[in-house]
């Protein structure tokens, strides 16, 4: 059973389009995250939700809108895609928002904007 699953795994799209990445966790965790990993492997937090409420919102363009319909799901919608949005996006979850335990990551969604 996959603990944190995200779809799609690969996404190739044109500039200006709108796309979504979905994430689900079956660990019963309260907190979920989106991280962006660039071509140099640098991992940067974008958002964090605890029990459907936004608790961390880094300096991310408002073209990125996370949505958490319930605590097991955190989706990422991106409007008006730009070339610089090309990256691997990782969803993760943890038991609590204080990161006193490990983060469980999904396998990543590679977004390529042409």
């Amino acid at each position: 059973d996959t603990a944190v699953s995200q779809t799609p795994k690969y996404l190739v799209t044109q500039m200006g389009n709108d796309k979504s990445i979905k994430c689900e966790q079956n660990l019963g965790h309260d907190t979920m995250y989106w991280y962006k990993q660039d071509s140099k492997k640098f991992l940067k937090i974008m958002f964090s939700y605890n029990n459907k409420e936004l608790i961390i919102n880094e300096t991310v363009p408002n073209r990125f809108s996370p949505k958490s319909p319930d605590k097991a799901h955190l989706n990422l919608h991106i409007n008006s895609l730009e070339l610089g949005d090309s990256a691997v996006y990782f969803c993760a979850s943890s038991q609590s928002p204080m990161n006193t335990g490990e983060l469980f990551f999904g396998e990543g969604s590679r977004l390529t904007v042409l």
């Binding site: 991992l43 608790i55 961390i56 990161n99 983060l103 469980f104 990551f105 396998e107």
Partner: protein, 111 residues
């Protein structure tokens, strides 16, 4: 500011040797640190963690050392195996529950 750095982007070791991966952090108030391993095409996976009230913690074939005086963290892997080849990240827990990752060290294990 927020900054977690690693000293070397790439480390190449012979199979069977010990590996040491280093990390420097900037926030002296950070109280929790984690090492993650990321294999090609996968998400990062937890290896070992350490709290700031400890200076050493051991796992299976891995040891993490924390030197708070110089804000330095290291991951030691004993008897490195081909399956250890991956990118290794240190991460620092900031106030507010934000986990900040370093840039990663690629470990290459030569057979």
């Amino acid at each position: 500011g927020e900054s977690v750095g690693l000293h070397l982007p790439t480390l190449s070791v012979q199979e069977g040797d010990n590996s040491i991966i280093n990390c420097a952090y900037s926030n002296s108030a950070s109280d929790y640190f984690i090492w993650y391993k990321q294999e090609s095409g996968k998400g990062p996976q937890f290896i070992i963690d350490i709290r700031s009230n400890m200076d050493k913690r051991q796992g299976q074939r891995v040891t993490v050392l924390l030197n708070k005086t110089v804000k330095h963290l290291s991951l030691q892997i004993a008897a490195t195996q081909p399956g250890d080849s991956a990118v290794y990240f240190c991460a620092e827990n900031m106030v507010g529950g934000k986990l900040i990752f370093g840039q990663g060290t690629t470990l290459q294990v030569k057979p």
